[in-house]
């Protein structure tokens, strides 16, 4: 945790800045020469930049393997004002290396996937010139994310933190003229940015508190001092961690700030996979993991984090059950899974949280990209289907059905991803989720129940999705005419599927490879274990969920796109609540957004124009009024003027007399 541990500075660590520089170079190349490079060239440059980043990350990891103590690298002085001193410093340790590998690894795959996906997408949406822009944004994201995970201080982390938010905004609104009323996508981007800003507000306050109590923003110094400060001012550390939690809730889409993530699905599918599933949204988890040293000092904060995670996991899962949009289901699933991770890091099971983060990155990216493949297929089918149903939503699962036969590869990888997510042994998700559940059962039995329920629902909605999309009969012409995606799209799917299959190997019970690796960063974390009871319970619950899904959706597939969901009747208003996302958006709209707009209007109209400006103008009118009144006294009659003089004289003599 301390710099002193950096006994040996591995020469490979000197490469650290290149994880950021390479994507930046990619951006510049594509910005300046994009026009001349053409789509292939752009894709290649961007992918190479991301891939290069991955290679550098791998080299860093290798360096860490040799010198697990890690190290820091000062790139440049940044800000020095009095006692406040922060620099552009990269931190290379096992935790950041894991994140770098995940980000650049998944990122590279998604870059490659995007070459194919966006080639089709820009043509579907009628503006091929945006191909270049997409890759610029994507590289920008990699750069920002790398800054986030490699930062050695909170300020630099914050740069990345907001940077990825910006990319998220840009990419959600990538098709800014599309969506509801033509503005829906842009609005979704804005919503994401603003909600994230609310979270950032918390993070900023946490930063200020950190500086005022620790006198620095550097990780190592803060973590070193944490016990002393916590002893001296426990309230302060509690406040710091809770405000930080607000930031986490924003970025990692936890209650109550999760609302932006479902809307973020307006972005192109690779974006959903990369940013809104695999990497960016896990930044919150990373932050809590990174600041374990603070959280362990205040158990209350840990409890709060755990509860937030647990509640989010269940809450989002319920909503996922009621969704029909293929990506939205995945989005709520992401929120739910993030809840798992947050709960884990909240409980102090940082390794479990990170483990789930990694496996989730694999299988959720896989699921999203496969969903993208499905959507591409549907769009293709929509265009080639005879029925000119151009209003047909290619993402609505009710319009799909039977795609198993038309898109076999996609089906198989989707199945792997779904099962991994559902937590079916021995896929990756099973192991990581199991570790979380185990920790919960040991430390927070109540949250354990919540997570168990969420796990059950996870299996259920994934089963529902699989059945609606790939089984039964095609319920629309588009589904009938869909076709398998090109290999540049499917290739990354296969790679991700393999990772989802075998990702659990990272931290298999017994080897605990990841734990050993991360231990160089997390000191004193409790070792994970394996408990047959918990494992069997979770597996059983997952299977139960899948079974129930088959009972509801598999036995009697939906007849047509218009058929009501079989759950609607038995669950009644409950299902409506799931469908309508428990009216949270409406609630926020009514309680925050609209009142704020009204307040703004009131301030601008009544207060600013009428009262404040009115006072200034009123003074002017007052003077003018006085002048108008006095004008009457300047009557033009010489006798009246003489009288005025006399009055003056009388007053003056009176003053003299009465003095």
């Amino acid at each position: 945790m301390s710099l002193s541990e950096t006994a040996v500075f591995d020469p490979l660590f000197g490469l650290a800045p290149w994880v950021v520089f390479l994507p930046v170079i990619g951006i510049l190349l594509n910005l300046l020469f994009g026009r001349r490079l053409g789509e292939k060239g752009i894709g290649a440059v961007a992918s190479l930049a991301a891939g290069g980043s991955f290679v550098v990350s791998a080299l860093l990891a290798y360096g860490l393997w040799r010198n697990p103590g890690g190290g820091t690298l000062l790139l440049a002085k940044w800000l020095t004002i009095g006692a406040f001193d922060v620099n552009w410093t990269f931190r290379i340790d096992t935790l950041s290396a894991v994140m770098m590998l995940v980000v650049s690894g998944v990122g590279t795959l998604i870059h490659i996937y995007s070459i194919g996906y966006m080639h089709a997408d820009v043509r579907h949406n009628g503006d091929p010139s945006r191909f270049q822009r997409f890759f610029v944004f994507l590289n920008l994201f990699i750069a920002a994310m790398m800054i986030l995970v490699s930062a050695d201080n909170f300020l630099m982390l914050f740069v990345g933190w907001e940077g990825v938010g910006l990319c998220s905004y840009l990419l959600i609104g990538f098709w800014f003229e599309k969506g509801a009323d033509g503005i829906g996508n842009a609005r979704a981007g804005k919503k994401a940015f603003i909600v994230n800003r609310i979270g950032d507000f918390g993070l900023l306050i946490a930063l200020f508190l950190l500086f005022s109590y620790f006198g620095t923003l550097n990780f190592s110094e803060i973590f070193e001092k944490a016990p002393q400060v916590a002893a001296a001012a426990p309230g302060a550390v509690l406040a710091i961690t809770l405000f930080m939690l607000l930031g986490v809730a924003g970025k990692s889409a936890q209650l109550p700030l999760y609302v932006w993530l479902p809307d973020a699905m307006a972005g192109p599918t690779p974006v959903s996979a990369l940013i809104h599933a695999a990497t960016m949204v896990t930044a919150g988890v990373y932050l809590v993991a990174r600041t374990q040293a603070l959280y362990v000092e205040v158990p209350l904060a840990q409890d709060v984090v755990t509860w937030v995670g647990g509640l989010t996991a269940l809450f989002a899962a319920t909503i996922a059950v009621g969704q029909n949009d293929i990506k939205r289901v995945l989005a709520y699933s992401t929120i739910s899974q993030l809840g798992f991770m947050v709960a884990a890091v909240g409980m102090g099971a940082a390794v479990a949280g990170m483990f789930h983060l990694v496996t989730h990155a694999f299988f959720k990216a896989l699921l999203f990209l496969s969903a993208g493949s499905v959507i591409l297929g549907m769009e293709h089918g929509r265009e080639h289907g005879n029925a000119g149903g151009h209003e047909l939503d290619p993402q609505d699962m009710r319009n799909m059905g039977g795609l198993r036969r038309r898109m076999p590869l996609t089906f198989w990888v989707y199945l792997i991803g779904a099962l991994a997510l559902a937590g079916i042994a021995p896929l990756a998700g099973f192991f990581s989720k199991d570790e979380i559940l185990l920790s919960a059962s040991q430390r927070q039995p109540a949250v354990f129940i919540l997570l168990l329920a969420a796990a059950f629902l996870t299996a259920f909605y994934m089963g529902r999705q699989l059945l609606l999309v790939f089984f039964g009969r095609a319920r629309s012409p588009a589904a009938e005419h869909s076709r398998e995606s090109p290999s540049i799209v499917t290739l990354p799917l296969v790679v991700l599927a393999l990772l989802s299959l075998g990702g659990g190997a990272l931290n298999l019970p017994g080897s605990h490879w990841l734990e050993t690796w991360l231990e160089h960063t997390f000191h004193g974390g409790q070792p994970g274990g394996f408990n047959w009871t918990v494992a069997i319970t979770s597996l059983g619950i997952a299977l139960l969920g899948l079974l129930l899904a088959w009972l509801v959706y598999g036995r009697r597939p939906l007849a047509s796109a218009e058929t009501a969901d079989p759950l609607a009747r038995p669950l009644g208003p409950l299902f409506r609540g799931m469908q309508r996302k428990w009216w949270v958006d409406e609630l926020y709209q009514a309680v925050i957004v609209r009142p704020y707009y009204a307040l703004a209007g009131f301030l601008a109209g009544a207060v600013d124009q009428t009262v404040i400006d009115g006072i200034a103008n009123g003074l002017g009118s007052l003077v003018r009024g006085a002048a108008q009144y006095w004008r009457g006294l300047q009557s033009g009659y010489v006798r009246s003027y003489a009288l005025t003089i006399l009055i003056g004289v009388v007053l003056m003599i009176a003053y003299l007399a009465l003095r």
Binding site: A76, K77, W78, L79, T80, I81, G82, A83, F84, D127, S129, R133, L155, F158, V159, W161, E162, G163, L166, Y169, G173, F176, E177, G182, I183, A186, R187, K190, F193, I194, R197, I198, D200, F201, L204, I205, L207, F208, L209, F211, S212, Y596, Y597, L599, A600, G601, L603, A604, G605, D608, I612, D613, A616
Partner: protein
């Protein structure tokens, strides 16, 4: 020192050379006039860089001072006293930097009475530079008031529909404040027997008993200029009606004069009063931040929105100054520069839109990104800088200000900074709404389909600002190195006073 070549005299009065040259160019030869003005202002920028080169960063005191007696009144002498420290140098650089940029922006925007426009513009530059360099209270006041005249004409002659109302309002508001300042200046001169800043610094005990009143009198003048809530209502009118170049300079430099005044005079000369007033000033600053942001959201006119955003941004500057900590004040000074760049650029952008469509109603736009991608990209960067995105300049300023205010021993409560931080959210709201309404969504209005993207000249106008936006955002250290020594001295001075108060 030879008066003729003293760098500060040169940097202050050099634009007069261009002024005289333009005076003798016939009014119809617009291009010649424009080039003369541009070259003059560029040379002046070069001179300001020369001043920078002569400046010793390690020295916290006044440098390159020039002091000669100007007028002798009974019992007191008014000096021609110029000098600078890091803070003023930075603002002089900003002035010299923004002026050519702005002149370039008028190339096609100002077609009527080009000669007069350029004449006033160069005069304005003299006045603004003088304000930042003058160290004699009376000389300062003269420059301060003098800037009003060219600005008044720039708004009144080349402005929009309600330009006269706006021009007069600017004049009267500013004058209201500065008259009280004049009274305070006279009082100080009477009690201390000098108008020179350094003398007063040494002998401020002489008027210490009245310092709260003096603080308020100076403060009113500066607060109106800044402008602080609730004295801000002149600003939206001025901005909306002013020609683009006027808005840029108004936001970029003129508003800074107010904040600079607080730093140069209110804090060092009346430190105890400053400490006493700090919570109240901070309160007004915070109200300004939140209020400006909220009101900006309700605007339909882009320019008005940007104008109210200035109110919000300058609230940050004021909060930083009255945090009375190193971070707060340094951040405040940097934020002045940042605001000059970002908001200046925003006004340039609005001007470019206006030139194309002759309207600033946001409802008349929408989907512009599709038509003008380069323009949209540049606007986006500027907008993000304005809302304080890390990595760009605005963030550095806001962050350091809030950091300073949060742990300020004078304010003694995190509430100010906390609420101000909420302003960061609101800034995102109104700026994103603006960006959305203008640039995103489908192209709804036919006239917008044919808009031409930026010309090379327009890009060149924005480019220097963008470079600085990134520079300050990523590597602000050189700027802080300029600011820090003077601020350190100032803070030490005020902290001593704070000790005396508590």
């Amino acid at each position: 020192m030879n008066l003729g070549i003293h760098p500060l005299v040169l940097v202050t009065f050099f634009p007069l050379v261009g002024f005289l040259a333009i005076l003798f160019i016939p009014g119809q030869r617009k291009t010649a006039i424009r080039w003369t003005a541009l070259v003059t202002s560029l040379l002046n920028f070069a001179i300001s860089l020369w001043v920078l080169a002569k400046f010793d960063r390690a020295d916290a005191g006044i440098q390159l001072a020039l002091r000669t007696p100007w007028l002798r009144l009974p019992g007191i002498t008014i000096d021609f006293f110029l000098g600078l420290d890091g803070m003023s140098l930075l603002l002089v650089l900003l002035t010299a930097f923004l002026t050519p940029v702005t002149i370039l922006s008028t190339w096609s925007a100002v077609e009527e009475k080009v000669k007069g426009f350029m004449l006033f513009f160069l005069l304005l530059e003299v006045g603004m530079t003088g304000v930042f360099l003058a160290l004699d209270l009376v000389l300062f006041y003269i420059f301060w008031e003098f800037t009003l005249i060219p600005m008044y004409f720039l708004i009144g002659v080349w402005g929009g529909e309600r330009r006269i109302y706006a021009a007069v309002k600017v004049f009267l508001f500013t004058m209201f404040g500065s008259l009280l300042m004049l009274l305070a200046i006279l009082y100080i001169g009477f009690t201390a027997g000098s108008f020179a800043w350094q003398d007063l610094l040494a002998s401020r005990e002489l008027f210490a008993s009245m310092q709260l009143w003096l603080f308020l009198a100076f403060g009113l003048a500066f607060a109106i200029k800044v402008p602080m809530f609730p004295l801000h209502t002149w600003l939206p009118d001025a901005h909306v009606e002013a020609p683009t170049a006027g808005s840029v300079i108004l936001a970029g430099v003129l508003l800074k004069m107010g904040a600079y005044g607080f730093l140069r005079f209110n804090l060092p000369l009346f430190p105890q009063a400053a400490v006493q007033a700090a919570p109240w000033m901070a309160m007004l600053a915070v109200i300004g931040i939140l209020y400006g942001a909220a009101v900006a959201l309700a605007q339909k006119d882009v320019k008005k929105l940007v104008a109210y955003s200035s109110v919000s941004h300058l609230g940050f500057v004021m909060l930083g100054i009255f945090a009375l900590t190193m971070q707060g004040i340094s951040g405040g000074v940097l934020q002045m520069i940042n605001h000059g760049l970002s908001t200046g650029a925003l006004f340039l952008i609005v001007g470019m839109l206006y030139e194309r469509r002759h309207t600033r109603e946001m409802s008349a736009f929408g989907g512009i990104w599709k038509v003008m991608p380069v323009f949209a990209a540049l606007t986006l960067i500027v907008t993000l800088s304005s809302m304080g995105l890390p990595g760009l300049n605005g963030f550095i300023g806001e962050f350091t200000i809030l950091l300073g205010a949060f742990s300020s021993p004078v304010l003694n409560t995190p509430w100010f900074a906390g609420l101000a931080t909420a302003g960061v959210i609101l800034a995102a709201v109104y700026l994103l709404v603006m960006f959305e309404k203008v640039f995103l969504g489908p192209v709804k209005v036919e006239a917008n389909r044919l808009l031409k993207d930026l010309s090379a000249r327009e890009i060149i106008t924005l480019l220097p600002i963008l470079i600085l936006i990134f520079w300050i955002g990523l590597y602000p250290q050189p700027f802080f190195e300029l600011i820090n020594p003077s601020v350190e001295r100032l803070v030490a001075l005020v902290q001593n006073a704070a000790m005396a108060v508590h």
